[in-house]
């Protein structure tokens, strides 16, 4: 909570901007001159065929890698300069689940959210896991869960970390119909509350948002 409040000076100011971004992998240029801006309540869907650099773009937006050219700005300041302040306002869920096989579901959720700066109690963690459809499985080690259930454990972080920007790389992979609907509702609620979402997906999903941007990578 603390980080969230500190990183949002005023609702209308929040903005994620990409300016002339370029990505190079080896000798190959994946994309160049990518520009976008995303404001509070905005959804950006990154589309493109396999290997077009969707994941690379998302990793850049998180600050995990540097763009070959261009700059990413959060509220007008470069994310490189913001560092911790930006990370406190952003949640990234990538291809890797970010869960430890040997830890239980609830331990995983509590530890990963504590690392993200949100210290949650057992009750709050149980509530979030119940909502995401893992009721009764809190005490199981993650290694016995199915792919879809692991995905749910990772996504449960969205419920407890009150960040304004969500960067989701294929969040719907391995999820069943009910879970996809649940995530759709969750995203819509987040957008209604003034949050921002950047996501990639190959599945057709209809999310209502104040503004929806489609970013096509060739």
């Amino acid at each position: 909570m603390r980080y969230n409040q500190r990183s949002i000076p005023s609702i209308d100011k929040i903005m994620l901007q990409g300016i002339n971004l370029a990505c190079v992998r080896g000798d190959r240029e994946l994309f160049r001159d990518v520009n976008f801006s995303l404001e509070a309540g905005g959804l950006m869907q990154v589309r493109g065929p396999n290997g077009s650099g969707k994941t690379s773009l998302l990793r850049m937006l998180c600050g995990l890698s540097n763009p070959a050219a261009g700059e990413i700005r959060w509220n007008g300041a470069s994310i490189r300069a913001l560092d911790g302040e930006y990370y406190g306002a952003m949640t990234y869920i990538g291809h890797l689940s970010g869960t430890k096989d040997d830890l239980t579901v609830i331990e995983n959720l509590r530890i990963s959210s504590a690392l993200a700066g949100f210290d949650i109690g057992i009750d709050q963690a149980k509530e979030a896991l119940g909502y995401i459809g893992l009721q009764g499985r809190e005490g199981l080690p993650v290694k016995v869960l199915s792919q879809g259930q692991r995905r749910r454990v990772a996504l449960a972080r969205l419920l407890v970390c009150k960040t304004s920007l969500w960067i989701l790389d294929e969040p719907l992979v391995a999820l069943d119909v009910a879970a996809v609907k649940l995530i759709q509702e969750l995203l819509e609620q987040h957008l209604r509350e003034g949050g921002m979402v950047v996501m990639t997906t190959h599945q057709e999903i209809d999310i209502t948002a104040i503004s929806t941007t489609q970013l096509h990578l060739a």
């Binding site: 540097n66 911790g84 990234y92 970010g98 690392l115």
Partner: protein, 219 residues
């Protein structure tokens, strides 16, 4: 946050005891091989004891370095740590501390028992344990840099030893030197003070260096 990382890594170590035990048994076996191969010549054993125990501790500590970050790297938790609003150096310090608690502390506790095989006097055993207590955290801290640099590389295990072992040399010299000084009736305080100084310096710089290396490795 620091405590969360330590708690997490200790919990993981408890769930995967095999990893911890292999390191400890490696240390025990290597140290025990020497008296068996050299034979019961007390004078020779006493002279070589500090060096053998330290070299074995170095190798044992290095054996587990590969695991310090690689498991977290493979399952994506390391990525999440990099995206934490907390300082990454602090998180690395937490991981190095957990590594020491899991691999270093058992070595320190086992060393006096193994020292008996080498006919060390009570006081020499005490000095050996004190030197290891100060020196093993340095091994974990410096090792964190090597582990971070070689993360995700093929054959990283060999490379990490080439990178890290030369950096271990000062600790080895003064660690073994403290015990030798004590056995020859000299003061050993200076040796221990120097290892303490290494600990302070590496405690400040190693987490920072390892954190920078991690950012590069994950890019």
């Amino acid at each position: 946050m620091f405590m969360w990382i330590i708690k997490r890594d200790l919990l993981l170590a408890v769930r995967r005891q095999a990893d911890v035990l292999t390191t400890l048994f490696f240390f025990i076996i290597v140290v025990s091989l020497f008296p068996l191969s050299v034979g019961p010549e007390m004078n020779m054993l006493r002279t070589m004891a500090p060096g053998v125990v330290w070299v074995a501790a170095l190798l044992a500590s290095m054996l587990s370095l590969g695991r310090m970050f690689s498991n977290d790297y493979l399952d994506g938790t390391l990525e999440q740590m990099l995206l934490s609003p907390q300082s990454l150096s602090l998180l690395v310090l937490g991981k190095a501390s957990a590594h020491w608690l899991v691999t270093g502390v058992p070595l320190v506790l086992m060393a006096p028992v193994l020292g008996i095989q080498y006919d060390l006097s009570g006081e020499a055993l005490l000095v050996l344990t004190a030197a290891l207590l100060l020196g093993t955290p340095v091994l974990s801290l410096i090792g964190a840099i090597g582990a971070a640099l070689t993360l995700g590389l093929r054959g990283g295990g060999v490379l990490v030893s080439l990178l890290v072992l030369p950096l271990y040399i000062p600790v080895l010299i003064f660690g073994a030197g403290a015990v030798e000084a004590n056995m020859s009736g000299m003061e050993f305080d200076a040796h221990l003070s120097l290892i303490g100084a290494f600990l302070l310096v590496s405690g400040v710089f190693a987490p920072w260096a390892a954190a920078s290396a991690l950012r590069v490795s994950l890019e």
